[in-house]
Symmetry: D3
Subunit: 254 residues, 6 copies
């Protein structure tokens, strides 16, 4: 990690993701990731109830930079306090590393916004890969126009300090009932968001992509009229066929 | 039913739908169907909370072929078991008749997928008319691309055997709190899915289409500035007007 | 209010909105409105859980004309009763003033429709600005085609009298847990619907637009690479910059 | 109704209940009432989710005196406003007739209290028969000690004006999704609260008590070892047996 | 199983439970059972959200006899139909074996009753060990008086055929999201209901009781002031101590 | 704080509560506390949805010692890990100061237990004042027998490490949507749990007790037949009466 900038490594956490793995993860579904992780014994890595801001946003891929909120208290949280430069919510926007994903533990709160369009614009400028909250965002039409891949439960337009107080950066958090340790890698598509433990990311990306490539073979066979029995999920026999097809250069017809 | 193929009739259930009735049902709204059935005394035939996979899928019409799940148990359900050729989930995909709709009693479970993209592709190839679950599907972006009309609560990307065990085909089931007997005919649009008891399908299709045609007359009148009072819902007087308009060849102006 | 038509003022309530204020409110987000109202001490003016019928409908702006439902009772509510010309649901459709928004207290009920496509068509013809319910509508595909801005929890296609009885027009109501007094002004976008107390509408429109214009400045600065610290939320210093930029004619570069 | 006091009749609504009918309704279950009303075509007369304050409170019986809340607004609702003598919440406590039940449409709100212990004490002193809300009460330990039969969703201890504004007395309301017209008669036990349309109360009390008396016969037979088949629900034959048993003076043995 | 009566074995399912195992299971908590089953790899065997009818009912222990409901349909389900002797709901009450537990898949429905007091009285007379539903019961005050251990979500007093149709006996079912195969053994206390796969019941009872007995030792140590560290959960060292204590005759002091 | 033991002060947080204030808080309702705090501008200090374990437990009073959980992950959380002496869940049980309340941020999780009976027994022995979780406990019958005042959403009997991982002690947390800073003082009764910011505890205890004492006067007046108007909430005039009554030695009659 010799060439990493300061922004890419904080508190001993590595927020970088090698380009090859990122490319692989951009090609796989969150459900493929979930299947591979199930093979490793992980049963709770998809965030239930989180939906993309709109149907056309691109795939979410990146390591998690976390922000934890607790409920607001009227003597501590106000619009005035919110404007201070040491407000952790705003610091998170300035410090989330390029290529990382801002992951917000909003304790499921929809009474205040986890982010608005100005913050999203700043994340886009800074090269952040996306934002995920188990609460919601405000200005969602404008955020959608930035193209930043975002996941939320539903829109939460009220001012953040009405209900939420930012309390910590880069602690392990829960988001939508799933554990997120800083540096874990998130993959999001229409199905939602999967969390890959950081130690396993290279291995999982490899295996998920292999599953996707087999599915391309299976889809082609299905289109030709073949039953899913003996084809999907793969059998030893169908894997041999797949390998032959790959060896033959993945021809359209065979 | 002499000319039915084996696939169209199982366990004494008729899964065919005559072309004329199908065409009618493709022109009516699920809400029109609900209204007609209310006139027959049925108050609980729309499946609450089920939404189309996306806004552009075509109308869902077809007889119900049912699949019932119960919760999974770790000693019975595994990815290995899932791959077996006698797994009822996979058999349902292979046996749901052409023109029918696969209706899944997932006991509302979002912890596992009621179907994925490979299964959806196979249904499309086999000419199945759509799929409905009171749980959710995985790979929903890919399923949406197949064009198969699908209804779910929300995406459920986790592997099926984590939480769900297929236990029976073509039993009467509940789906989203509505009774579905095999062979009942489903009609789905943006409002959701209506279930027509199989004995009533011809009659209901006829009456729902008549309502839609009257609504075309009413819409034209409303566009010309007429009040809904005395026009919608129809009165005896407005029905006379409608009949005259129909007799006149449904002119744009009169 | 000398030139108001009867339809624009009922029961002493003014349902008109001056054109200048309307134009301002069409340019601001509901979240901007919420922020301004928070400054006035209002913490509960966004209707949680209400979503636009589709993503492409135009901004909702207009004074509230209210309709209150209570649960139906079988001896009072029937399709026959529903067709009567003194049915308050239908009268609301005929009397909601041009430029106003029909706001429905459906006590959160999804078991019957708060409105269907024929009613929506009539509202469009009459120049009504939109419809909001804390229940749902039926025929939502057809309503979406009318272009009428509509907000609901989710589709509710069953016939209204199965579960809902219209009991009063233009009473103060609750809608989705927010107080709505007739004449209050609603502003709706992708984030949902905000309610502005009628006495404050001119003032709030002014302040919300000012916030939007500052955000245009801030967005431009963010696009140029500036941190949100010291820029958003605005500081006294950044406001000076903004004023200078405005005085300079809002140049693209400075 | 010649001898009624002013308090017993308001706005043309009769809040009295003859002693004989009251005694009958104190002996029947809310589920018996529901069954009789189902025979009259009423399917939605039990308030789902409302529970007695504690297990030992006595049966709730009495005509409904209604109070409707809407959500609070910060410029209208405050502790100061709450103390005013024209606050409708407090007036309801003073005017709810003796023998009647205070029924509160709290729009399901748990963010403020529908009643506290001082109000409950006053209701007890005034001879009010009970209180029902689709929100909740505060000081529930103290209310329970007064013995006043009360039903709520769950405790709601926050100050009323934080979230609730009393807007009207003795309008038809919805409470927990059930229509309540002033003067309708409520019957509550451990199963919850049933609402009897006022026109039917004598008839329903009679029929429900008859059902309870038959059940006493059936219970005795069951205790002696008889199957419920042919016994419960009653058959023509078992009704003859019952009549004979009644004619014989309801002997312990026969 | 030579001496079993017909009532104790149906469709090849054994509904008996040997007296020794039953006694053990009456002494353990459902949470102890859950812990033991977790050691066998079972993570989903407690039924979430089901509560005992009251706090004083005795421990529930017995093999599952299942009843599956689907939603009612107005042309099939009526009070008249309900009274027929071939109604499966009523047959279940007559055929559920002595010592077994009636487990109802009510598809979570609270709109109709899974059982009432007459049915409960009959179960008591027939020696049935309890009743469990993922819906609710009616006449719960009266059922509580019978002493039959019962678990439900909440009271559901409406007549069964309004919303529920009994469709099958002794099929594998889901109840509150947990798989129940006929003959599985249920254990219920204040924490809720645990389901033991029938093959494991002897083994689980043994291990759960061993855990309870160790807890008695641990409770005694804790009462004497010892830390839970090194004591609970048990360590190899603390198990030696426990064994010595048992060998010494479980003295009050040592 | 010179005489405090190590256990009473951790990380600079004071967990002691002077005896006089504790006695006052044992005499007031959580709703009284909420009212006083509303006067200080606090609107969100009651924990919604948390209920006492049973109706007979004593009042909960004490400073908060916090434990934060995040969701479990299969590679980190196991029964083996759970038994380690550095498990923070178990350390919390050993270190929560005497007189304090263990407050658990369980992120609302009911899939694992926030505490069981052995842990509760240890807390009792150590003089801890109670336990509060926004999840649930296991072995609740046994915990109830210890007499420890406990609040939860509902029972959660599954083993903790199935779903929960203890991540930190004495951080500021959210519990049931309310902010809890270590040292804040909790007051719980049948209405639920109120949180008093630690700086305000003396003042709030004083004012809440004053309110309770006035209510004793008001209750006496109500019992004598007086209206709540002019009496409750207190007016300047009624406060004079109250003061006179206090000055007269709070006589039964006056």
């Amino acid at each position: 990690m010799s060439a990493k900038t300061a922004a890419e490594s904080r508190d001993g956490v590595c927020f970088s993701l090698d380009a090859e793995t990122r490319v692989k993860l951009e090609r796989v579904g969150s459900a493929n990731v979930a299947n591979v992780l199930l093979g490793h014994g992980f049963r709770n890595i998809m965030m239930p109830g989180l939906k993309p801001l709109n149907g056309s946003q691109r795939q979410l891929v990146g390591p998690a930079y976390t922000l934890r909120f607790i409920p607001a208290r009227e003597d501590i949280d106000s619009m005035g306090d919110y404007s201070r430069d040491d407000n952790l919510h705003r610091i998170a926007i300035e410090q989330c590393p390029s290529g990382a994903v801002l992951v917000v533990d909003a304790f499921g709160c929809l009474g205040g916004a986890s982010m608005g369009d100005m913050m999203a614009a700043r994340l886009v400028h800074r090269g952040v890969a996306g934002a995920v909250t188990d609460g919601g965002f405000r200005d969602i039409d404008a955020i959608a126009q930035t193209g930043l891949p975002c996941y939320q439960r539903e829109a939460a337009p009220a001012a953040t300090p009405i209900r939420m107080h930012p309390i910590a950066l880069n602690e392990p958090i829960g988001c939508a009932g799933v554990a997120v340790y800083p540096g874990d890698v998130l993959v999001g598509d229409g199905d939602g968001v999967a969390v890959i433990p950081r130690e396993l990311v290279t291995e999982v990306a490899e295996a998920a992509l292999a599953a996707v490539e087999y599915e391309q073979f299976a889809a082609r066979e299905i289109a030709r009229g073949r039953s899913i029995l003996g084809l999907f999920p793969a059998t030893p026999e169908s894997r041999v066929e797949y390998d032959e097809w790959v060896a033959a250069g993945r021809p359209e017809q065979h």
